[in-house]
């Protein structure tokens, strides 16, 4: 996860040299502090913080609020990046119709599918190529709300020819229940005259999301959908035969059903997508090139599946920039608060500074002493903020991921607080602490011993 967090995204967006310079400067400052630390009255600073515990606590809480909030926000973006980066297998090739911007806009001729599936480079299980033929569509579902209102939710439905093959190709397995039947429908045992139930397998995220809405209507606790649950869509009743194991990918937010049932139901009788499994990423790249440049029987647009999902990160970047802006403004606001505390600390301890100078402490030691006090404050508040932010790890939230070429997917993502998130939170706290403590420390530095004691 280290390369999915805000830290590395910042590296990408803010240019590496600037970031390296900042790191070198930070480490340099830290080393300088270490060099003189043996002459710095550290205990004096610590005791002062304890004695002025109210101010210490108030300042630290400002850090806690800022860092805690940013950790949660960053965890959300991490969740989005994780989702787009873990969706798709590096050895899979996603085949769409030429010019299709997204699965939802693609339309492949059924007659071409057999030839496409039998091209060299695609792995086989005996005689059967490891290819999943799919019809992806976005359905609009009316969801009853309290007080008789309704809202519309967009469901991502993937019509599959063979669910077992699709599970194998996409690396998805069942957590509970069973795959839908060959027919894709089953009679309604409660009403023999009713239209047959449409069988579906549901992603874990979608099961949570739909359970949440159901909870809002019938007042029961927000329990996720389980095997045997039903819902209504397109004037039909749909029946959950299985729940997919959570993988953190966008497939967690999908509903899988029989292609021959859902395709005609939504006027999409053709496949939108074919996903072919190759031996590895290098083979997938070759197959992609083959379909894009050499294959002539149909005009196709092929892409390595993991790369396709990575491109759906435009929304991630928008949120990331928004968080960077908010982080900067909040950090500036928080720094002013710390500066206030430290200026007050200096003005209240003018005599102490004089005494320290008379005891032989150099001005640079006093400078480091006040900066260190501010950094300690930041560390304490920052750690507390990270700890609070840590609680957000594992929360689920809905969002939309999309790419610059159009299209997008509604997803249920898991907030992820990783090491990079905590480190960047602490780094930000330290930067705030340094900025907040440096100017007051300079003002302490300028005091002369006798003037201070006078």
């Amino acid at each position: 996860m280290i390369n999915t967090g805000l830290t590395f995204a910042i590296v990408d967006s803010w240019r590496l040299p600037a970031w390296l310079a900042f790191t070198v400067w930070g480490m340099g400052s830290f080393l300088a502090i270490l060099l003189v630390i043996n002459r710095v009255p550290v205990m004096y600073n610590v005791l002062n913080m304890v004695v002025r515990w109210r101010n210490t606590l108030l300042s630290a809480m400002a850090f806690t609020m800022v860092i805690g909030l940013l950790t949660v926000m960053q965890a959300f973006v991490n969740g989005m990046y994780r989702l787009t980066e873990t969706s798709g297998q590096p050895g899979n090739v996603l085949i769409l119709a030429e010019g299709a911007l997204d699965e939802a806009f693609s339309s492949l001729a059924m007659a071409d599918s057999n030839d496409i599936a039998n091209q060299p480079g695609i792995l086989k299980d005996g005689e059967q190529p490891l290819v999943s033929c799919e019809t992806y569509l976005l359905a609009a579902q009316s969801v009853p709300q309290p007080e008789g209102k309704t809202k519309r939710r967009f469901l991502q439905i993937r019509g599959l020819v063979d669910p077992v093959m699709a599970g194998r190709v996409h690396g998805m397995t069942l957590d509970s229940g069973e795959w839908f039947s060959e027919a894709g429908i089953r009679p309604d045992p409660d009403d023999v005259n009713a239209a047959p139930l449409v069988e579906v397998v549901m992603g874990a995220g979608m099961a949570t999301e739909m359970g949440r809405d159901r909870g809002a209507i019938d007042g029961r606790s927000r329990k996720e959908f389980v095997v045997g649950d039903r819902f209504e869509l397109n004037n039909r009743v749909w029946y959950v035969t299985g729940i997919l194991k959570r993988t953190g990918s966008s497939f967690d937010s999908e509903i899988w059903s029989k292609q021959s049932v859902v395709g005609p139901m939504f006027g999409k009788e053709r496949y939108t997508t074919m996903v072919a499994r190759t031996a590895d990423n290098a083979s997938a790249q070759k197959l992609k090139e083959f379909f894009n440049t050499e294959y002539t029987k149909a005009q196709l647009s092929a892409e390595v599946e993991s790369e396709y999902y990575k491109k759906l990160s435009q929304t991630n970047e928008q949120f990331l920039y928004a968080i960077i802006i908010v982080a900067c403004i909040m950090a500036i606001g928080g720094s002013f608060g710390v500066m206030n505390t430290m200026y007050a600390a200096v003005s209240q301890r003018i005599k102490d500074i004089g005494v320290l100078q008379l005891m032989g402490f150099k001005r640079r030691h006093i400078l480091v002493s006040f900066v260190l006090e501010s950094l300690l404050l930041a560390l304490f508040g920052g750690l507390l903020g990270c700890l609070i932010g840590l609680f957000a790890d594992g929360w689920t939230a809905n969002s939309v991921v999309s790419g610059s070429g159009g299209g997008g997917k509604s997803v249920v993502l898991e907030l992820t607080v990783d090491g990079a998130t905590l480190i960047s939170g602490l780094m930000l706290a330290m930067v705030m602490g340094f900025i907040g403590g440096f100017l007051p420390a300079i003002s302490a530095l300028r005091l002369r011993a006798l003037d201070a004691l006078r």
Binding site: L58, A62, A104, G267, Q299, G337
Partner: protein, 422 residues
């Protein structure tokens, strides 16, 4: 009255007694009120566009069961009439059909980049002035309206005409009168020749373009003649139809008429108000907006309250002797309480007002609105009410943060304070 003025003067005097501390507190307030103002701007604009109107409503007719909506073009005529069958049926007062056309000026796919792309609303040219959001509200006396009306007139006369957004035209490195060929990305094998006949006014449609519906229809017909078969999207080339109705009752009637019309059953059509449609679209961002409303904004306010509380409590501790002297001089505890609260309030109100006003001016006049690049949502102007909200935010958090320090100030015990004086 005299005492009130005296207290007010004391508040002012004390505020500037330690200008550095006041400045730092004010700057902290400015920064955090800025974040709250931005959050308020987004939420207020979203609330506004998702609030149902009671009159002059715009409706959206789209495919009922799936997105992207792809309806046959033959639906336009009936939908424009609201599926009215008899004289007594309700009819919309105006309509506009939209098809989305994405294309590039580059024929070679490998050399296409964002700057060469065009996203166009394919529609009836005369509806640009009467049905498109914000353009339908332009004053006929404004230069924007006159320029756009002239462009629309040229578009009506020139089937190959196209109106471009100003930034899009700049990115394409073109000017009015230039001609270019557009290679479609979503309408496979369709390429269209265009002549730029004008531009949209600056603002919401900076990146948009529009051209004539009948031009696309002709291209689809030509495709069928050339290839001997219909274009794959020939029967899916209508993405949505906008309708205007005068009242909510008219909306209900038109929606019922369309829902019950057999000619709109395969594929089925749904009609909803524009605000409801946007609300449903925003459902995908529900948790994010919840976070902005109930986590980000309160956290900023809490941080701000802490910054102010810290500053005021330091100030109160430094001035304990002063408060004791004031008590000896006859000041009542409530007056001291008011004094401390007043100092915090003054800084909070001034900094909050300044921050919100500066944000208002910078975003509305400097940036031309807050960009909120989700779907078709426009840039958001900071509402005037944000200035009030920012000021109240500064005041409220100042009061909240200064309550405990002010209470401790008014509770100082004279004997205790003077016993410490040596």
């Amino acid at each position: 009255m005299g005492l009130t003025l005296r207290l007010a003067w004391l508040v002012l005097d004390n505020t500037f007694r330690n200008p550095l501390r006041t400045l730092l507190t004010a700057l902290g307030t400015v920064a955090l009120v800025l974040v709250v103002t931005l959050v308020y701007t987004v939420l207020d604009n979203l609330d506004r566009i998702t609030t149902e109107k009671s009159a002059n409503l715009k409706l959206i007719a789209t495919e009922k069961w799936q997105i992207p909506s792809q309806l046959p073009y033959r639906y336009v005529a009936g939908l424009a009439q609201g599926a009215a069958k008899s004289e007594t049926d309700t009819r919309p007062t105006d309509y506009m059909s939209w098809a989305f056309f994405l294309g590039s000026l580059e024929a070679d796919q490998s050399s296409r980049d964002f700057n060469s792309f065009i996203f166009a609303f394919v529609m009836e040219p005369e509806k640009v002035l009467t049905m498109m959001d914000e353009l339908d509200e332009l004053s006929p006396d404004s230069s924007d309206y006159k320029n756009l009306a002239a462009a629309v007139e040229k578009l009506k006369q020139n089937k190959q005409g196209i109106i471009l957004g100003q930034s899009r035209m700049k990115k394409l490195n073109k000017k009015v009168g230039d001609r270019f060929k557009l290679y479609s990305r979503n309408y496979k094998d369709i390429s269209l020749e265009f002549e730029i006949v004008g531009t949209f006014p600056q603002g919401r449609y900076d990146e948009s373009t529009t051209f004539r519906r009948d031009y696309l229809n002709s291209a689809l017909d030509q495709y069928q003649r050339d290839k001997g078969k219909a274009h794959p999207l020939a029967d899916k080339s209508l993405n949505l139809v906008w309708l205007r109705v005068p009242t909510r009752d008219a909306f209900n009637e038109v929606a019922n008429q369309i829902a019950e019309a057999p000619e709109f059953s395969a594929p089925a059509v749904k009609v909803e108000t524009a605000s409801s449609g946007i609300g449903n679209f925003l459902e995908g961002y529900r948790d994010l907006l919840w976070g902005a409303r109930f986590l980000l904004a309160p956290a900023c306010m809490a941080t701000l309250a802490l910054v102010i509380a810290n500053s005021i409590s330091i100030s109160v501790r430094e001035r304990q002797q002063e408060f004791a002297v004031m008590k000896v001089l006859g000041f009542q505890p409530y007056q001291i309480l008011l004094l401390v609260l007043g100092e915090a309030l003054f800084v909070g109100v001034v900094a909050g007002f300044f921050s919100a006003t500066a944000t208002y001016a910078f975003i509305n006049f400097g940036l031309g609105g807050l960009p909120f690049k989700i779907g078709f949502l426009p840039t958001f102007d900071v509402p005037v009410s944000a200035i009030l909200v920012g000021t109240f935010m500064g005041a409220g958090t100042a009061l909240l943060g200064s309550l405990i320090p002010a209470w401790s100030a008014c509770s100082v015990k004279v004997s205790e304070i003077f016993s410490r004086v040596t």
